[in-house]
Symmetry: C2
Subunit: 246 residues, 2 copies
DNA sequence: CGTGACATTGAACAAAGTCAAAAGTGGTGG
DNA sequence: CCACCACTTTTGACTTTGTTCAATGTCACG
């Protein structure tokens, strides 16, 4: 089983009672694969995308830039993430999607989506749930940038990324690979990269984290969670009752 | 025709080619009306809501608090806004919804939603579109709090509120009622209320805005838009092609 | 080795927060 | 109509946090 299937499949089964048959249907829908190199634009602001996407492997960012060059990364997209459901109301993209690493994504056409969403009740809950999680992550991003200090922001983001990567089996117990430069992290956290660097160093000096190349270790998870006021509630990791309308 | 119908109806017709019959169906779904007083909680964090809601009249806030009292207003909910579609995946709320003014909302049950969403193709695009707009507003909120200065944030929020209120006929050409205290605005913008007050005064002294009671006038829209780098793209005000899957 | 991208450090500066007190506002009852 | 209350807004002095600019380090890769 190729790794791309593994990542997506793990996210699926983590969140809904999806069976092998359902997973097969889903993955059959993911045959229109596109690949990108770091820095490539997947979606340009103003363009009207024609398909939705699922990240098969690699990291991407959704970002919005101001005219004067300031850039805000709205969120990171990780393997198994679903994006641009807004395709279906025919609106131009209000943001930019960019590959941060070598990236492989699957395009899902409108027709395909219709089948998944309406035609197969085993899949629909996952799509719905995915949208709910994405919006919750966005809300938490607002809180992070609006009401947390720089140190809290960094700790909180590290914990979020670790939790999300764990679900798809791309993190170890207290360690994960963060294959993006500090500029992107700073743009996500609304900080200057200079200050971000200081904060990272500070967390490291205090023994909360360790860094080696692009590996990050959460040395003192308890302290990080307290510092960040981190709760996993917003990630909706528990499957829930899936009361989908029939 | 009561005002509540008017506000909702205007938002509907602004965004999709909804006919009178469709609007009737929609508004018939809005018979389960609840009212709240300023400060009342509509949804508590951790609770599992059983219906989705449409705001009929008044303002509400969706907010998330940290244990130490810091509070972030994630977004303002205005008449015609739709919320808590996440009901349908059976997840507990990760946020709190609070009435900021006398508030009247309609509860939409799962069954009702199923009928609207699947059973009537005239309505489905509006629900979908509404979700798209809400998410876009959220993204813009991230940019505002992450990469804009305090003055820019205030200008940007005022322009957004004016645009959203205009759609439902609750704003005049360059003026609208903002029936919420500065504390709430500050919590939305990730600022202290002290600093917010200074910024308001500064904008007023420079002739960009005027304030009287809870009325705000945009005296120099051009200057405000340039200051805020405001573009209406993210509000998706143009109806679009509504390529909904069948 | 040398090169280019990325990361770190220091010093000066700017933006926003905190604390505390004063000045509005609006509603209520005498 | 006025006096009083609670509440919100404003103002001033000071502190903290994060930014900017510029120089220096580091590391993978050719």
């Amino acid at each position: 089983m190729p790794k791309s299937r593994s990542a997506l499949f793990r996210r699926l089964v983590h969140y809904c009672a999806i069976d092998d048959q359902g997973a097969d249907i889903f993955e059959n829908a993911c045959r229109d694969i596109k690949t990108f190199e770091p820095g490539d634009l997947v979606i340009r602001r103003g363009e009207q995308p024609v398909t939705a996407f699922i990240v098969m492997s690699g990291w991407a960012s959704r970002s919005i830039s101001l005219e004067d060059g300031r850039n805000q990364v709205v969120n990171f997209m990780l393997p198994g993430d679903f994006f641009d459901l807004q395709v279906f109301v025919g609106q131009p993209a209000d943001h930019t999607v960019r590959a941060l690493t070598p990236l492989s994504i699957a395009g899902i056409s409108r027709q395909m989506m219709g089948e998944l969403f309406v035609g197969n009740s085993k899949i629909a809950p996952y799509l719905w749930w995915s949208a709910v999680q994405e919006e919750a992550i966005l809300r938490e991003q607002v809180v992070r940038n609006g009401r947390r200090s720089a140190r809290e922001r960094v700790a909180h983001l590290l914990l979020e990324l670790h939790a999300r990567l764990s679900v798809i089996g791309e993190a170890e117990k207290d360690r994960f690979r963060m294959p993006v430069g500090q500029t992107h992290i700073a743009d996500a956290l609304g900080l200057s990269y200079v200050h971000l660097s200081r904060v990272f160093s500070h967390l490291e000096k205090n023994g909360l984290i360790a860094r080696a190349r692009s590996e990050v270790s959460l040395l003192d998870r308890k302290a990080l969670e307290e510092l960040a006021h981190f709760s996993t509630l917003y990630l909706h990791l528990e499957p829930g009752k899936l009361n989908f309308f029939e």
